[in-house]
Amino acid sequence: MARSFLQVAAAEEVAPPLRVVQIEGLVMLKIIKHCKEFSPALVTGQLLGLDVGSVLEVTNCFPFPIQEEDEEIEADGANYQLEMMRCLREVNVDNNTVGWYQSTMLGCFQTAELIETFLNYQENIRRCVCIIYDPSRSNQGALAFKALKLSDSFMDLYRSNNFTGEKLREKNLSWVDIFEEIPVKVSNSALISAFMTELEPDTPVTQRDYDRLQLSSSPFLERNMEFLIECMDDLSVEQQKFQFYYRSLTRQQAQQQSWLQKRRDENKARKAAGEEPLPEEDPSNPIFKPIPEPPRLESFLIANRIANYCNQINGCRHCCHYNYYYCCYLLPLLLLLLVVLATIRCYCSFCHCFCCWLLLILLLPLSIVGGGGGGGGDGEDDDDDDDDYYYYYYYYYCSY
């Protein structure tokens, strides 16, 4: 049904919820390059793009220069931003800010500054997103891109400065509800996809795969554990603050009760004596002063960080586990290749058949083949040992 212009203008715009962030391959490469160049320093940059329905398209970005703590450089930073956006406008790049990106070191990005920045951006832009890129995790072979935004309920609560325990319980808000992670989609223009397909044909194994296959994940795990332990310390400090608060609150209430009791007794005595009863409340008495509740934001953020580290450790462990399993699977396979190579020299068809057979055994699920490599009278003593620790690892894997 056709609506008049007035009707459409008068109708309130209901923004569909943000469901996916669509990034261009160009933006990903730019972010990766910028973050990697300056790692381990943390860098930020601006995201440009379009806000279309429930998809936030990020089509370009530019990095921010690293700012020193000087006052006059602040104005410089704003100038830089304006200039960049003006220049990019001239070459038909989308001039619309949709958020910012920042690099992080092993995932400790949930800070109060992030929330402040979000709120600043939210004042001007209806929908903004923050992309977090972790160059240290990418060195392990995973692509650590995350798109985050603050959840609406958290934002309302934070803005109204009502961050107390009761309010949180009311809205049922816990530390998982602060940040919302939005799924990321990647898109490329047809031209660039044609270029990539032509310039780089399908390679079986790439650099990223080599990074992922590295068995030495211990430095990464170590750093994760270090950060985790620090965060736990911080969390315990926050917990102590809460404990202290509750204890003093209880103590204060006990004091109030005893004071009230004394007042009541006094009043009874006065009534008996026929005098005016004293008021039962005395705001000037210090024991009636309400104790300020410690802010909960920090403990929520710490909880977020800890959860992140735990997830990273879990994910890393998963990959390593597979690494080890396949490593001990592949090692004897390669040893057998050596045997095969030896047979190239002597062209012994009997050996060859035997090796074929062994390989077949290795490639089939081990539980199916019973006594395995016993056949063939070549006297390969390694065999039994090989199969023994195969079963061991298979059992290990299954039992886990």
Partner: protein, 288 residues
């Protein structure tokens, strides 16, 4: 004419410098150029811009970044927005002072007359700039990226022309490999692969590789394929590079590290439990 008056037109690489230059291009540059080409204004046939990067100590030109510069091209005249070029250069230098101008690029195959003029302008900015052409036409289904350096052809004292000589170009796709080619090649990818999915794909690829090797060795043994000694040597080197551990030692090694990791997993599960407990304590505690 006296012999001393005779002059010779010099062709070919006249100086050792030109013959040693190679260029390395990062994938970001290609992406940037394609994106600018797609967004060019309607009346422009090609886009032109500046290349940023650095010159490595061994003489290779490392092209790392680029930005497009608006320009206007008439029949034999070219107008380049020089102020824009300088503004963008300043902005880029603020972020990364090491990336300086190393040349310029243009889309479209071949070098035209206008290009020579632009190249002269860039020669004034930096000595010996590199000219990169990115062919976006895809005629014959090919997209070509070529790099040129210009050499002045002189007859005696007179400048005749500038000859653009092609220099070897190295496309370093290491960053693109980091992102993953399957993400960069298709026009849309619905979701970034998670750790485990990536692992799965990787294992499949590795198994394919090993199957290929096995097939090759098989064929060579049976006599179907011609045995190549160098390949055989590489294979034997690879296999020999595995550390020689006795099975019990290897056993113990893998077991120990697996146990460590299981311990870490246990710790992280405990931590997660602790977190939910802390949350309950913090918000659910009711005061009378």
């Amino acid at each position: 004419m006296a012999a001393s008056d005779r002059t010779v037109l010099q062709f070919g690489p006249s100086s050792a410098v030109t013959s040693n230059i190679t260029a390395k291009v990062h994938p970001l540059v290609i992406f940037n150029i394609s994106d600018c080409y797609v967004r060019r204004p309607d009346q422009a046939e090609r886009v032109i811009g500046t290349l940023l990067g650095s010159v490595l100590p061994d003489g290779t030109v490392d092209i790392r970044n680029s930005y497009v510069v608006p320009h206007n091209e008439f029949s034999d005249q070219v107008a380049l927005d020089i102020e824009y070029h300088h503004t963008m250069l300043k902005s880029h230098l603020k972020v990364n002072p090491q990336e300086v101008i190393v040349g310029w690029f243009s889309t479209g195959l071949g070098v035209t007359g206008g290009s020579a003029l632009i190249h002269e302008f860039y020669c004034r900015e930096v000595p010996n700039p590199v000219h990169l052409t990115v062919g976006t036409g895809f005629r014959n289904g090919e997209g070509t990226v070529k790099a040129y350096v210009s050499v002045n052809l002189s007859l005696g004292d007179r400048q005749l022309a500038a000859q653009f000589q092609e220099i070897p170009l190295d496309l370093r796709m290491i960053e693109a490999e980091r992102v993953g080619f399957d993400i960069l090649k298709s026009t849309s990818v619905d979701k970034l692969p998670s750790d485990l999915e990536g692992m799965e794909v990787l294992m499949e690829r590795l198994l394919t590789l090993i199957n290929d090797i096995y097939k090759y060795v098989d064929d060579t043994v049976e006599g179907h394929a011609v045995p190549d000694n160098s390949v055989g040597r590489i294979l034997s080197e690879t296999v020999a590079s595995l550390p020689k551990l006795s099975p019990p030692a290897f056993d113990k090694l893998v077991n120990d590290s697996l146990q460590d990791q299981l311990l870490l997993l246990y710790l992280s599960s405990i931590t997660r439990t602790q977190l939910s407990l802390a949350e309950k304590l913090n918000t659910a505690a009711q005061m009378p």
